[in-house]
Subunit: 382 residues, 4 copies
Amino acid sequence: MNLPANYQKTRQASVDMCAPLQIEDYIPQPALFTSPPKWNLGHTSWFFEEMILKKFIKNYKEFHPKYGYIFNSYYNTLGERVVRQNRGELSRPTVKEVYQYRSYVDDWMIGLLKTPIDDKLYKLIILGLNHEQQHQELFFTDIKYAFSKIPLYPVYSDLTYCENSEAHKEEFIEQDEGIYEVGFEGEGFCFDNELSRHKVYLQPYSIRNRLVTNGEFLEFMSDGGYQRFEFWHDEALFWLSENNIQQPMYWKNINDVWYQFTLAGLRKINPDHILTHITYYEAFAFASWKGLRLPTEFEWEAAAGKFSWGLRWEWTESAYLPYPGYKKDAGAVGEYNGKFMVNQKVLRGGSVVSPEGHTRKTYRNFFHPNMSWQFNGIRLAK
Amino acid sequence: MNLPANYQKTRQASVDMCAPLQIEDYIPQPALFTSPPKWNLGHTSWFFEEMILKKFIKNYKEFHPKYGYIFNSYYNTLGERVVRQNRGELSRPTVKEVYQYRSYVDDWMIGLLKTPIDDKLYKLIILGLNHEQQHQELFFTDIKYAFSKIPLYPVYSDLTYCENSEAHKEEFIEQDEGIYEVGFEGEGFCFDNELSRHKVYLQPYSIRNRLVTNGEFLEFMSDGGYQRFEFWHDEALFWLSENNIQQPMYWKNINDVWYQFTLAGLRKINPDHILTHITYYEAFAFASWKGLRLPTEFEWEAAAGKFSWGLRWEWTESAYLPYPGYKKDAGAVGEYNGKFMVNQKVLRGGSVVSPEGHTRKTYRNFFHPNMSWQFNGIRLAK
Amino acid sequence: MNLPANYQKTRQASVDMCAPLQIEDYIPQPALFTSPPKWNLGHTSWFFEEMILKKFIKNYKEFHPKYGYIFNSYYNTLGERVVRQNRGELSRPTVKEVYQYRSYVDDWMIGLLKTPIDDKLYKLIILGLNHEQQHQELFFTDIKYAFSKIPLYPVYSDLTYCENSEAHKEEFIEQDEGIYEVGFEGEGFCFDNELSRHKVYLQPYSIRNRLVTNGEFLEFMSDGGYQRFEFWHDEALFWLSENNIQQPMYWKNINDVWYQFTLAGLRKINPDHILTHITYYEAFAFASWKGLRLPTEFEWEAAAGKFSWGLRWEWTESAYLPYPGYKKDAGAVGEYNGKFMVNQKVLRGGSVVSPEGHTRKTYRNFFHPNMSWQFNGIRLAK
Amino acid sequence: MNLPANYQKTRQASVDMCAPLQIEDYIPQPALFTSPPKWNLGHTSWFFEEMILKKFIKNYKEFHPKYGYIFNSYYNTLGERVVRQNRGELSRPTVKEVYQYRSYVDDWMIGLLKTPIDDKLYKLIILGLNHEQQHQELFFTDIKYAFSKIPLYPVYSDLTYCENSEAHKEEFIEQDEGIYEVGFEGEGFCFDNELSRHKVYLQPYSIRNRLVTNGEFLEFMSDGGYQRFEFWHDEALFWLSENNIQQPMYWKNINDVWYQFTLAGLRKINPDHILTHITYYEAFAFASWKGLRLPTEFEWEAAAGKFSWGLRWEWTESAYLPYPGYKKDAGAVGEYNGKFMVNQKVLRGGSVVSPEGHTRKTYRNFFHPNMSWQFNGIRLAK
């Protein structure tokens, strides 16, 4: 697909997914780690305005002098911003004004796309589109979280596509000891954290062809998994006790029946469906209980051609660290990935709400080990 | 005015004051002590539904089984409820649905008002209307607070009626030593905390006929008032330092000019206007700096016929305590006032946003000493 | 007793009560509201050094340049100080050095007492001695609290004098309506907060001649007192739930038998003994459950001649506020009482660990309503 | 050295290093991450009592039934314990009693060492001694931290051996790309986290032969290093701002001269001395400022034969994770290392206060990235 078409398709997708929302739904931010839909819509537009329009179009006139302050997420290079936890306080600009902002930015961008695009600009536009796609995935997980906090349990959509299962039989894929190459190679887009491609030495291992199911996790729970300290990290025990955690994030036991909150409202848990919304702490404890472990990100990548993936972000045992020769870009774009490379865990694969074409086997997603509002799951290794 | 007309007028006022709002403005709750406009509208309706319709109409069918959970404020008698700090998370029910809820309750109430009303029911209806009026005042102070947090500084209304001044010359009114009677007497409505009427003995005192102005407070600030510990309570010093307080709540210094956020947006401070949005801590420190003090609530009440009031809630030195013979009502209504009678200060008078006819000289308003989002002011005594 | 003898007796008492301690016991500060014994010993000496020796003796040489920083409690007038919660971090100066500091200060003070003493100095010395006595009482309650936190439950002394009972039969003393005079009068010492003596008007009331016993409180507990919200203030309910309070501070249920930690170690509760270590919140809830109330401080004072008191500090319903005409002293001494006159409750009477001769019927003790490490008790009124 | 001699020498060292302490110094715990000297002495004895004496001696009688509760550090297998932050509250058992406890345990241990020792027991004893040595290092860093909080700046010892420098010239050691073996091999003792020995593939790199000096860090500071966000991780910026960090932990600027608190009291900073007490955040920011980076733990280990080390624990870029085939031991001993393998960083080398013979090139020390009370330093790589 050509760039203008790609641009318009990607931008339109962010708007389309808001169709089921009421105006009210654009506003709340029930947790620090989520953003209101309105903010996501503004922020992705601001990214193009700030990184591209202001830099590449001489006579560009910014839409509003305060939107930079309002829609900057975490770029220190670009100055002060609304503190992250206060995004839900902003009833203004209105939803309508934010859509006007999007149109304004789109008009300028489409104009720009008709001019000759040099390599540097091209890369920034592609980065902007990948950035937009990341926020599209966040949109689904944020609205799910927000709706889960409302006693009326609103339904985003009756399509329950997010709860799904794998048909094939469980099997462990054996992998030989030796040197493997990991990291991105080729022509297309990748984030800076996927580079440089380099060699790693892996010991012999095997990795399961299926993700863990709700049913398997229920066995862990029946076996006292949440109460048996020997399966957990020390700080996970603290997390369990501080937050009184006894089941996965969206699970609720009503009259001895397990339900989970989904984008289609509260639904009975299907034991054959793939487990999701799990923290790294829980993933690790579950694997320990099984007498198994999580794969490292390189074990995952080296075997990724041999099993199907993309239904859940899969926790790995790897910490999120720079690859050999990793180099942050200069300027604001350099804040995209590198400054988060401490105390986070790598997830691989992609999920049911990842935009089409957005994932690849070298993609490194990352979250703190206590985060579970993404569609995270567990793949086992040994 | 007859009861049905009174009911409709009071209920309509709550709706009218929302006219300048966008849908988005009904949602955020930027502080624990404020409530979203949507919640206020629902809660005041719930009060009638819960306290009256469910109890006095046999075949009453509640509007929605979960609204009790959502719109209960603090009545333990009436069961579980959304925790107070989470009111801003509720994008549902929608604004439209809440207005439908109001209409539904109003229809039943108007029906009920056409039937014979016994004394007990009459009192509850009047309580409900006074409750609604309290939330009308809260509406103004809550929306002002919410707008103040938005970088765009929205304007609620261009009418700057909330900033005002007193024309008469400063004077201290002398009061004799002796026995005075305080507390409500007469036929009309009062809250239980205004009873019983009783005698108090007052030492000779005098009280100022004017409220403190912005100009007077600017002198306090120029004289280092916020930095001079000797004027402040010990816990006020802690409050100042924890919150880095150096000026009244809504004041901002921009290029050496003092502005304040108002319902009409950001405005230059007029030194002749009456100071407002002041905490008890600041009121006390200011009075100490003047070599004066705040009046007690009884000094205020005993002299209230001799000066004009109603522009600001006036901090008194009195703690909020039960009057002799104070008796909580039975049931949920008994939770209205009594359970707050510790660690709060009494304010007297009324403010520019108090509903007409809602205040009287025996009215006891109360807030914690660090609260200033109401239109609070200072009257001096000696 | 003459002043030098009084001085030496009072100062010696602080040392004598440390006799049962090990060196180790002088150090820990297990809660913000307690102080280590070593700190108490240093602070009371510093009071004389700072307020008297440095001001009244020209060639006085301070014992150590940093002790002012270490042993100042809360006097802003006198500069920076070790923050209150860090007193338990100070292993130095050693206990021995602090005793040397005491001797040094005492030597100078005794010298000073041999010279002519003018009225101003006399008043400061008497204030210093009363201050020392207050810390003597704090010593007992602080060490009790500290020992209660140690799994070995150390015994301070086998003498169980702190647990005691009243022999006389329960009776309510009736008091007439009318004008009463309250506040200190006469020649001796009083704190500034007991002045000025003034008239108050009291409604008819009656007050119980006995304090509440453990047995009475056990009935409240058996009747679900801690779980029944209708007896509690709103913020008390928050306090109960945040701290998971289900019994008085030092009570422990071991195999269905109630024990309490005492200065003589863990002891079975005697239902005839006077209830102690109770918060205002609990005192209020208990009184509500009884259908009674706490007396105001003036009701207490007006009737104090008609019942025996001094075994427990008795919570009153009164907030700690200035009396009419209250005037803080100039200088550091002015920080003694006035700056605490907000959000605290008055207690009257005295306790089993109050130094002999230190209490009187006009004495106003004050604590926040959630504090119970003093020997606080309950007297009922109606 | 034979085992009994080794045992006695190691145990005695813990006692010897307490020689400069006053009784008072054994008590305070000024931070969650430090332990009082008394607790360290008790805990290391408890380790032998709990892991060995109770298990290997049939008729062993524990010294005191509550010491297990008091001196357990973090072993869930072994039941409840005093919460970590409350160790400074324990004035009892006294210092003398803890020394009696040590003697008691030593007597039994020495008896046991005279009997035949099987392999399992031998390994536990060696583990106990290595555990004791770890606490010996903690003793020095804990007492340094505790003394640093006392306004009198006590001196532990006048020997300033902890501040030192390296004579050799700066140089970068080049290392070839290829497969290296890492992890412990051989006969002696190692911790479970050093196993299994395995192959890793390293890209070409070079590593500095000298640690970073105070002088080099002063240049970073002069260049605005603490204020320039581009060198820091995102969560490091939060840490800097929350704690108002502008220099290394023990540095103080007095009249424009830089001092640091040392075990020999407050001393002027010598720019030639090796920088110490640095967090990972600071180490990373410093390296970024230099245009360099920290080595990974495997880069460090592979080159460790080519430079001298053991003066500072050297932060690596590696997260603390299990080696391939890592297996926790069964029982309480299994809690030693594995449960901490999340959100921590590996340090390599050893420090001036590491016990002789306790370090080796495969040793993996680990701390959270914001910790700096150990003698941590920086080695650069590229």
